[in-house]
Structure formats: C-alpha cells, structure tokens
C-alpha cells in the first residue's frame, strides 16, 4: 500500500510517519504529482499559517493534484490540524483566504471573548452523533491532543462530524465520502490517536 504525506514545506511529517511505523505501515513524503496520483492513501499534515500553506500548495501545483486525487480517483485523504483546515472552503486567518474546497466549511478564529485561552492547547474530549470510519472502537468523550487558534464550522450538512467544545462547539473531525479531517493530532494522542490512524489506514479506496 502506498501512503503519501504531502510535502509543501509546512508539515511535521516525522511524527506522523513515526506513528504509522509503529502501526506497521511504511509511508513516504512527496510533492511529486505522479506519486500523489498513484497513492492508495493521502495524508495532508501541517502546522502554521493557512495563507502561507495555500500559497505553497498553489505554487507547487499541488492544490489541483490533491483535489483530483480526492474527487476523481476517490483516494482516501486525511487532513491533520492545519491540513484539515486546508480542506475547507476559506479561512479568515491573515485576511480571507480560499482553501481546497473539498468540504464547504469555513474556518474562523476561536472565540476568545469567553473565559478561554487561545491557542487551545492540550487534551480535550470529543464526541459525535453518528459513527464514522474514523471512530471505530473509540469511546465517546475520548481525549485527543489539540493545538490551534482557528477552528472549522460544520456548514456542510452532508458530512459526518466529530465535535469538541472550547468556548464554542467546533469541528474536531469529519468524514465526507473519502475525504477526512481531524483538527487534533492523532500522532500525539497516544493510544486513542494511534487507533484513529489505524482506522484511517484500514479504509478501502471506493
């Protein structure tokens, strides 16, 4: 199985690869469209600013490659943290910036008017109404590690969601057909995180 982590200069690839290795899977890091197109699974990691990430993806010609792989090829694709946000429609970080639009959800800053600290850092519990492929054998209210200041809304009503509450409810994870995202870092969430990654690895291409 070919697992490719997209390299656009802003990801913490090593942690994700270490976690995959622990689960018994090899992976590679690439920005080569041919490699990405022929992958069985795609992971879009990322930390940092939304705008800079989109600029990099666009400059490297990867935005279209990811969109086509996820839509026309039906390749299971997982965005992690900033990588999940990039799958959305737009973010207000550093002025409005368009995302990959694989899901029509907007990204806005967490609401700091309530008594919360930003960034949202640490383990927080998540919950969902409908099970999806990512939540298999994971208990409701399990803790995952978050570190972010911006969060996704659930505008797109056709997806399955995992939620977390921090000042407001926000999208902690989603599944829309073969496109998946998690705001938290499964590779940093100990056994719950490894289990969730394993669930993704076991998803078959449609």
């Amino acid at each position: 199985m070919i697992i490719t982590l997209i390299d656009y200069g802003m990801g913490n690839h090593l942690s994700v690869r270490n976690a995959l290795k622990r689960l018994g899977y090899d992976s590679s890091v690439s920005q080569d469209p041919a490699v990405i197109k022929s992958s069985d699974l795609i992971i879009l990691p990322g930390v940092g600013s939304f705008r800079r990430a989109m600029e990099n993806l666009n400059r490297l010609g990867l935005s279209e490659v990811i969109r086509l792989a996820a839509t026309e090829n039906g390749t299971p694709t997982l965005g992690i943290c900033l990588g999940m946000q990039l799958l959305g429609s737009e973010s207000t970080e550093d002025g409005v910036c368009e995302g990959l639009r694989l899901i029509e959800n907007k990204i806005t800053k967490l609401d700091g008017s309530s008594d919360i600290r930003i960034p949202h850092v640490g383990f927080n519990n998540v919950y969902w109404e409908t099970n999806n492929d990512l939540t298999v054998d994971i208990n409701q209210n399990s803790d995952f590690y978050f570190t972010h200041s911006y969060a996704m809304k659930d505008d797109d009503k056709t997806a399955d969601y995992i939620y977390c509450d921090y000042g407001m409810p926000f999208v902690a994870g989603f599944r829309k057909e073969n496109v998946f995202g998690v705001q938290f870092h499964p590779e940093k969430s100990q056994k719950n995180g490894l289990k969730l990654l394993k669930n993704f690895l076991e998803i078959k291409r449609a």
């Binding site: 913490n12 930390v47 940092g48 940093k188």
Partner: protein
C-alpha cells in the same frame, strides 16, 4: 468534561544524560533521556519537555539525535529547549520530531526573534520560557544564564509582551524554587496567568503532589511541569494525575 490540565515531566539534559540540580547548581544523574521519556509516555504523561542545558554548540548534534530517538518512541507532544537562538535551530528541532521549541535567553536579547519564529512556524510551536525571581513584594524579574544574571525586566510585563509577540505558551520557572521542592511560586504564577490569554505552564519547586494541585487551583496554571519527583521514583506520573483528579481537577486519565 473539558480541556484537561496537563502534567509535563521535564528532562534537563546535560551531555546526553538527564540531570537535576538544586537551584540550577549541583547536578545529580537521573539516567538516559530516551528511556526516561519512554517511561513517562507509558505512565500517561501529557507532554514531555526536553531542556538541553549543555547549550554548547558541540552538543547540538547529540540533542538532535536524542530528539529523533525520543520522537520514535513517544506519541505525545515533545517540547525542546536550550540554545534555541535562530530560526534554523527551530527548523532542525521540528524536523527531528519536536512539536514545540522553548525560547529563553534569545527572546530576552532579541524579542523580535519570537515574532519571526511565530510568524514562520506558527504560535502553536513557540513556547517562551521565563525564568523569574522575586525581587520585592509582588515584583518578579527575569533572570538569564540559569538564574545568575539579572535583566531588570519585570516578569509580568514581559509575559504580556511575549504573548503579543506571538508566543503560543509561557513556561514560567521560578528560579528561587527550582530544585528546592517547596512548591511553585504561586504569586508570580497567578500574576502572569491573570495578565495573559495564552496557556501558562508552571515550573520550579515541585516536591510533592499537593504542589501540583496548588499550581492549578491557586496559581491557575494550565499545565504543571516537574522533574525530580518523577526522576527518582518518588511518584509516577499516573499517581500524580490520579491525585490531581481526586482534588477535582480535570485530567486525562484514559
């Protein structure tokens, strides 16, 4: 259920060994960093902080290799500090598998460095470490060089400035307390927590599990960092978490 408070065991590493000094002087060997990190991971630590106190340039490669080895074994966030002075130092540590870096003296000498680092790598991976000493009633100052050099900078004002400059977290160490085991300096912890809107990690002085509880309940810290109580087997991280949970603090126990 809510955002859990964090327990962060800290590894002070000198020439490839975990050590712990009293008031940053007088060193005691506690073992191999990779083995110890793995042990804390298995005990349910929420994060691990690795502080390279060798801070000589020759030691850098050793640190990078250790960070790589730890990152292969530990599936919780890893913060690396000590000698982070340039953007390239940050890039190297992140590439080795660190999730965050802790910036200390370099921030004092050049506050703009924090801005540049936060802009380039994101606030979530920039921790600003503040070493504070009490110099008067409700007055704490920043010290550098392991607590030996006064800067005249007010610690609370400094924390506010660092948050404005893009720090994602503050790691606050009370230099009077470090290694003394008499509990956190709750005064400076509370003063800084009340003045900034980013998470604050309390450090320095933990001698028993009630000190951890006080750091959260009285100091209002978002996370508590401790070293020697875990290194020498007095308590496990899991015991500490259970103790804090029993005191009514939200902890991650699964």
């Amino acid at each position: 259920m809510a955002l859990a408070k964090r327990i962060i065991p800290c590894l002070d590493v000198d020439k490839g060994r975990v050590v712990k000094g009293v008031n940053f002087v007088g060193i005691r060997d506690a073992g191999d960093p990779v083995e110890i990190a793995k042990r804390y991971n298995d005990q349910g630590a929420d994060e691990i902080t690795f502080l390279d106190i060798t801070a000589s340039h020759e030691g850098r490669d050793t640190t990078v290799h250790m960070v790589e080895a730890i990152a292969e074994q530990v599936f919780i966030p890893l913060t690396v500090g000590g000698g982070i002075r340039e953007l390239d130092d940050i890039r190297r540590m992140l590439n080795a598998g660190a999730d965050k870096v802790s910036i200390n003296s370099a921030a004092v000498y050049n506050p703009e460095f924090v801005k540049a680092a936060s802009d380039k790598f994101g606030a979530q991976c920039i921790v600003v470490a503040i070493d504070a000493k009490q110099v008067g009633d409700n007055h704490w100052e920043i010290f550098t060089h392991g607590g030996r050099k006064a800067t005249g900078i007010n610690a609370v004002e400094w924390a506010v400035k660092m948050a404005e400059f893009g720090a994602g977290e503050i790691l606050l160490t009370s230099m009077d307390r470090d290694g003394v085991k008499s509990g956190f300096d709750l005064g400076v912890t509370r003063a800084i927590v009340d003045s900034v809107n980013i998470p604050v990690i309390a450090s320095g002085g933990v001698g028993n599990l009630d000190h951890l509880v006080d750091g959260v309940k009285i100091g209002h810290a978002d996370a508590v960092l401790a070293a020697s109580i875990f290194h020498f087997g007095e308590y496990t991280v899991q015991q500490a978490k259970q103790h804090m949970a029993a005191a009514g603090i939200e902890m991650r126990l699964d």
